[in-house]
Amino acid sequence: MYNAKVRGVLIEGGKTYQDITRDVLRPLDTGKTPLWWWIASFFASAMLVWGVWGFYNTIVNGIGTWGLNNSVSWGWAIINFVWWIGIGHAGTAFSIFLLVLHQRWRTSINRAAEAMTIFAVMAAGMFPLIHMGRIWNGFFIMPYPNTRGPLWDNFNSPLFWDVVAISTYLTASFLFWYVGMMPDFATIREKTTSAIKKKVYGILSFGWLGSARGWLRFETAALLMGGLTAPLVVSVHSIVAMDFAAGVLPGWHSTIFPPFFVIGAIFSGFSMVLTLMIIVRKVYKYEDYVTKGHLDAIARILTFISLIMGVAYITEAFIAWYSDSPYEMYVFFKNRITGPYAFEFWAMISCNAIIPQLFWFKKIRKNITIVFIISIFINIGMWFERFVIVVTSLSKTWLPATWHTYHPTITEIAIYVGTLGFFFLGILLFLRLLPVMAISELKGILKETSSVKKINENESK
């Protein structure tokens, strides 16, 4: 095909169709639950339990248990919310953009990336809910007939757009993910020897047959759902950006925010995909499917996005100077680049704009350990970016009398760690119970990609 040759061989090890079925089914059907799974699940559950304590403390004692004050009214909650939403862009950006662009190398990673999306968006959603204080009144954010007039939501508010966008994003991503798994559930139904699994995966497969007409409709429906969901990647994070940009604070009130946030989200999403896939390919021995070529492709994309991030940071600072607004100048040059938050600012710059530039070197892209470490740096850097945006702008606004610093409390830390535990537990359950790679899609590219190998061999002769 037109794009296979550029990418090289996507499935190594001379696999047959049967091998693919066997390899993907191994962790969830024939294999025993490995020890590392139990250990990891134990730690994830412990983190989650601590998070539940944080939730409990917040609900019973109120938001006063957080480190917020009159000036810094958005602390870790919004930082972590935006961070998780960013990570949640991975799956959809990855699987749907590459699906729409007919990039075949998505096939061995898209399923896991979509699972990441779903758990990350769920983790993100917990922060606005808990920040409401009275979580049991959470349904107030929905437009429903009420006895107050009825007084409707403010449909012009970015905060309401957020509610709509994120719940839509979660729903659409989940449906797309599930539909993609139906053929694989059917494969498990036919291949498993356990009666219980046959029953459970049979129900989940919705009676999938795999007939020609069925495939045609499936492919059409999946492509349409994917094509429709693709713009959501842009809209969700644009709307999150407008939560800030629609405010008038220096450092926030900027038209660069929506594209800057979308790019940042895709950046953090791709880096989290890289982090997790390097672990998964190692523990499940999927090196033949998630090849070095795959990791190389992700690293190249990250290099490019990192450059965009760098340009965005420079543009922000330039516009702050060019606008000649003393407040903008103060935020950027006295409270970010220098001043008490300089460490966070420079951590953000180095993790997001400088360290990923190491991917220019082929040697570094080929060294999985270094790639893994850099991907962790990007995850941290993107967290610092949200910290810088939220805290530096809020802590020092126009009146010096209102200036305040912000430190998270143990409750906020517990909630953050809890969402990490939730995310990792979700991913671990996914790794144990669901097909980690799209079996049918891998089979679909197998013949093409093996023929590439033959072509390459002939050329080298």
Binding site: L151, E190, L216
Partner: protein
């Protein structure tokens, strides 16, 4: 599928199965269905299969846009107009909610259409011609009818075998 009424050509190569479909179509032999572990685009083309789901998706999206705008207009302009900052109640920024909910209605109703049209539901019992199509085999199903005499059956058998069928079964 009714038993003892079908010829099954089993292939282990997608291209061989596609060639067989081509040959059968050329010889005007009706193919009932083709079962495969992954989509075979050439088979759809050979069998002239089409789907109208895209048109329906467009309709769902358009209806979604219209009904969301209708709701926003009714709630913000008719039912409880709330004036703040002198801004119009029928606001341009409705576009954001409309955009997102258009996508939501498109996705949900496309999925429902697909499930209804394919008659899929949780726990549906299936009767596959050959369970190996879920693993590594490609099966062409040809329904036997009364007009099919020995010679024609033989011809179909040969066609399938010559195109590279590894087995020709009856069921």
């Amino acid at each position: 599928m009714k038993a003892n009424n079908h010829i099954l050509g089993v292939f282990d190569d997608p291209d061989a199965a596609t060639t067989a479909v081509e040959q059968l179509v050329k010889n005007k032999i009706a193919i009932k269905d083709v079962f495969s572990p992954f989509p075979l685009e050439h088979v759809w083309k050979k069998l002239k299969m089409k789907t109208r789901i895209p048109y329906l998706t467009f309709t769902f999206g358009a209806l979604g846009t219209a009904s969301v705008y209708g709701f926003l207009y009714w709630s913000s302009v008719i039912n409880y107009p709330l004036i703040f900052g002198g801004k119009p109640t029928n606001s341009l920024s409705f576009v954001v909610v409309m955009f997102v909910l258009t996508i939501l209605s498109g996705v949900i109703f496309t999925l429902l259409t697909y499930l209804v049209r394919e008659k899929l539901w949780p726990g549906k019992q299936v009767n596959l011609p050959d369970p190996r199509t879920m693993d590594d085999k490609f099966v062409i199903v040809i329904e036997k009818n009364k007009n099919m005499d020995e010679a024609l059956t033989k011809k179909i058998d040969d066609l399938l075998k010559n195109s590279g069928a590894v087995e020709v079964n009856e069921s």
